[in-house]
């Protein structure tokens, strides 16, 4: 459980909030690069950290993320004309450049220089790994570009998707580090999903339904190790990475692409669940990419033209009670992502954590909250939060077999950080 004031502190991410400040300390995925496919293309509405923004790529190919609304009468610039190196409000013709600077107010004499006095709030927007990233903090504290490994491999080696999740970011993120639910909620998928099946690790998983968990602090967050018995008295470890505030990477299986998530607040009641898959040394196969595009693995299929999952709250997540009864899916919902999202959304927009009854196996969640609260206190004293530095971002999850007495953090030390040109340690 958390006290109400702690719950409020961790779940509120709007401007001026401490948790919002933590998100504003590092680059966040804002939209897919494919959403702004070419110079002069239509702008895209973006709400992030409770701010209404507009992303656009001007006719000179400069990326922009600006206040959504015209400074004149407050109309949405989503209706704007993307032309000649700027975005023009269709109402009275005010025009803005990619920094949000107003460059034309047609009703005023150009000699007056009035337009120079008008500037929309804007944030930097950069492209990396098929994602457009933004930094929403103070310009003087802008960190180096994101170094997450999936964003640095060639684009044919990675796949990125996002989906709307209609609940607070924290309950979505906590699902990502709640390893003990996998043996139940996702039990149907381990041996059937093309992006999971066929690994020796799955045999360990299914042979030992009661893993033992170890939670260990890492420089940027946590390692969450799930331990199962392997041969000759050794342990099979699946080590998940959590980096503050909202990055998780799940342990790999065999030669399948490695995957993970960002959980980025849209506002306090909604978040983007970003899902990545990548390989370090080879392109994704056509079959793998097709499976991801079709919504398998940790991805979803969509309501056409949106990032709303096809199975969503408006259709009761297409729950199939017969499939549940027959054991084809544990909850009746199909697909790993929506199995999680359906339950997390069912908690309501922000779960009241004063009411919960955590148990010992929830220590990953307890430690994550502890680290977040500690980081918020340290930020008050001017410290940079975890997750900002490249060292914290160049991390990997791992699946390894180790001798029984070894601390996995040390025994798998090399496997838990980026090794250039080498694949993840996997079983």
């Amino acid at each position: 459980m958390l006290r109400k004031e702690q719950n409020d502190l961790l779940t509120q991410t709007g401007p001026g909030t401490p948790m919002g400040q933590m998100f504003r300390s590092s680059w966040q995925p804002a939209l897919l690069a494919s959403e702004l496919p070419e110079p002069g293309c239509p702008p895209v509405r973006v709400k992030l950290l409770s701010e209404r923004l507009l992303a656009w790529r001007d006719s000179n190919n400069k990326l922009a993320l600006t206040d959504e609304f015209c400074a004149h009468r407050g109309v949405s610039l989503w209706f704007g004309r993307n032309e000649h190196g700027g975005l023009r409000c269709p109402y009275h013709g005010w025009k803005y450049d990619h920094t949000g600077q107003c460059v034309e107010v047609p009703s005023e004499p150009s000699e007056s220089g009035y337009c120079q006095k008008i500037k929309l709030k804007s944030y930097p927007l950069i492209e990396r790994g098929g994602v457009l990233w933004t930094y929403m903090g103070p310009p003087e504290k802008q960190p180096p570009l994101p170094e997450w490994e999936f964003a640095t491999v060639p684009t044919e080696q990675s796949f990125m998707s996002k989906r709307l999740q209609e609940c607070n970011w924290l309950q979505a993120m906590e699902g990502g580090i709640d390893s003990s639910h996998v043996s139940f909620l996702h039990s149907g998928e381990l041996n059937s999903d093309p992006l999971f099946k066929g690994s020796k690790g799955n045999q360990y998983n299914m042979g030992d339904m009661k893993p033992v968990f170890e939670v260990v602090e890492s420089p940027g967050g946590l390692y969450i190790g799930a331990r199962r018995n392997a041969e000759n008295g050794n342990y099979y470890w699946r080590i998940t990475q959590y980096v503050l505030p909202a990055f998780t990477m799940i342990a790999p299986r065999a030669d399948h692409p490695v995957h993970g998530h960002f959980w980025v607040p849209i506002d306090d009641h909604n978040c983007w669940a970003w899902s990545f898959d990548y390989k370090v040394t080879r392109p994704l196969s056509a079959k793998e990419r097709k499976a991801m595009e079709d919504g398998q693995g940790i991805h979803v299929s969509y309501v056409p033209g949106t990032f709303i999952p096809a199975a969503n709250k408006t259709n009761d997540y297409l729950v199939d009670r017969q499939a549940q009864k027959e054991g084809r899916t544990f909850s009746g919902v199909f697909g790993i992502a929506m199995q999680d999202a359906s339950l997390q959304e069912s908690m309501g927009p922000i779960i009241d954590r004063t009411k919960e009854n955590l148990v010992s196996t929830d220590n990953g969640i307890i430690m994550a909250r502890h680290k977040l609260l500690r980081a918020l206190k340290a930020m008050e004293k001017g410290e940079t939060p975890p997750g900002v530095s490249a060292e914290h971002q160049k991390v990997r999850s791992a699946a390894v077999v180790l001798p029984p007495d070894k601390p996995f953090k040390d025994a798998a030390k090399d496997a838990l950080v980026v090794q250039n040109g080498r694949e993840h340690a996997t079983v």
Binding site: V212, N357, L358, D362, D410
Partner: protein, 168 residues
């Protein structure tokens, strides 16, 4: 018409969640396995808790010899001996606290008692970053067979946060 899931997961509907206690007090027993942990546990015990009780096994670092009983094998923080089996019998959760690098041999006795009585065990190792891999391995080798959940934490404050989260 809105689906039931859409309607019921709204903020408005959250107001109708039943506002009544949904759990009873749990018996959480916190046991220091070594002298450095005993100091921490003694400090923790001064705080208000929801029924958690605190013990030390630091004076009983080895397995009882044949014929010895568990009767006096545990002590409370006032130094009164306690029967391990009695304490485990009445526990919902046993939390063992160990300092990294210290011998956590007592874990085997406590863990075995918990295993027999089917009581959940959690081990918390403090200061994992301050000792060598070998020293940490030694502590882990004693804890792993008996801890169903193990946490290696850098801050002592984590114990209090964890116990609070568990409503201890």
């Amino acid at each position: 018409m809105q689906s039931e899931s859409a309607r019921m997961s709204s903020a408005a509907e959250a107001r109708y969640r039943i506002n009544a206690p949904n759990s009873k007090q749990r018996a959480v027993k916190v046991i220091a396995l070594d002298a450095p942990s005993e100091r921490i546990v003694k400090e923790l015990a001064q705080r208000p808790w929801n029924g958690a009780t605190f013990f030390t096994a630091s004076a009983f670092g080895t397995t009882p010899k044949a014929g010895e009983s568990f009767a006096g094998w545990l002590s409370d923080l006032a130094g009164r001996t306690k029967d391990l089996i009695d304490e485990v019998n009445s526990a919902d959760l046993v939390v063992m606290i160990a300092a990294a690098g210290e011998s956590a041999q007592a874990a085997s006795i406590i863990g075995e008692a918990c295993s027999v009585k089917r009581v959940m065990t959690t081990a918390l190792v403090l200061g994992g970053n301050t000792v060598s891999d070998e020293a940490l391995s030694k502590t882990l080798s004693h804890l792993r067979p008996w801890a169903l959940m193990l946490v290696i934490a850098s801050a002592e404050e984590y114990i209090a946060d964890m116990l609070t989260a568990l409503r201890a």
